[in-house]
Symmetry: C2
Subunit: 161 residues, 2 copies
């Protein structure tokens, strides 16, 4: 549980005014156990203060993005809606199951390896990467026969082709 003072400090250190609205939004993101979209953040914020407008939530999220306190991400198959998370977690990527909608967070060093190599190869400097995976989770994949070849390497099923 973060004290209000801690939240205020985070904002000030990044050159943002610590308004009550921003403190609430930041606290929601600190305490979030899953990825939230602006609408949901707005609803939670309204429990604390029913007068925080959705527009302010959006403006706050954009400010927090600008100063890298928060990162914005998309989930596969729903690229219209943005989700947000606090950026103090380890590097990770998101996999969404097309059947049940579950989101699995995955970690790997290969992506950054790839970026390092590509940066060298092309002489570019990366600043941000957007990546999301979609497919079928262990519970849902076996039900899809057309994908069996993809999961057999895992489960050593008998199959032809």
């Amino acid at each position: 549980m973060q004290t209000k003072q801690y939240l205020r400090q985070q904002l000030n250190e990044h050159g943002l005014r610590a308004t009550p609205q921003r403190l609430i939004v930041l606290q929601i993101l600190e305490q979030a156990e899953r990825h939230l979209d602006a609408e949901t953040i707005s609803q939670i914020a309204n429990i604390h203060d029913p007068y925080i407008s959705l527009a302010t939530v959006y403006r706050t999220l954009n400010k927090l993005k600008d100063v890298d306190l928060v990162s914005q991400l998309y989930f596969a198959r729903d690229h219209k809606r943005e989700y947000y998370e606090k950026v103090d977690k380890a590097e990770h990527y998101h996999f969404t199951c097309l059947t049940c909608g579950k989101v699995i967070e995955m970690q790997t060093k290969r992506i950054n390896q790839a970026k390092d190599e590509l940066a060298g190869e092309h002489g570019v400097a990366f600043s941000h990467t957007c990546m999301c995976f979609e497919g079928y989770c262990p519970d849902c994949a076996p039900k899809r026969s057309d994908l069996i070849h993809t999961i057999t390497s895992q489960h050593t099923l008998n199959h032809e082709h």
Copy 2:
């Protein structure tokens, strides 16, 4: 240059009716030298037939996506607008320069390696991956001192920090 018959065949083989509108859209994508958005495809299509509506272009693109003749992608910083390309190219990823807007296509095996590993690790089956990079291209990166650390590994500049 594809014959109309060839285009028609591609559509029929994928279970799609070969309407004049679809033939035009498919041909535009075949001949495209860069990534096009629906609006641009519609404008080009209207040169061939001024009565093709934007809605039909969208519907056609969605059909082509469904049957994997075309892939849809996003460029960094503009996740609002979708771009399309024919899917006969080798696996590649897109890097967009934040300064000049140039798009660089990059190839690497590491991403698929990562996916293979993650598929094994989590027992999932991947069906689609969305990925885009953003940063600064070789022409623009040197102008940004805050990114020098990222490019020194390439250019062995002297620098402190």
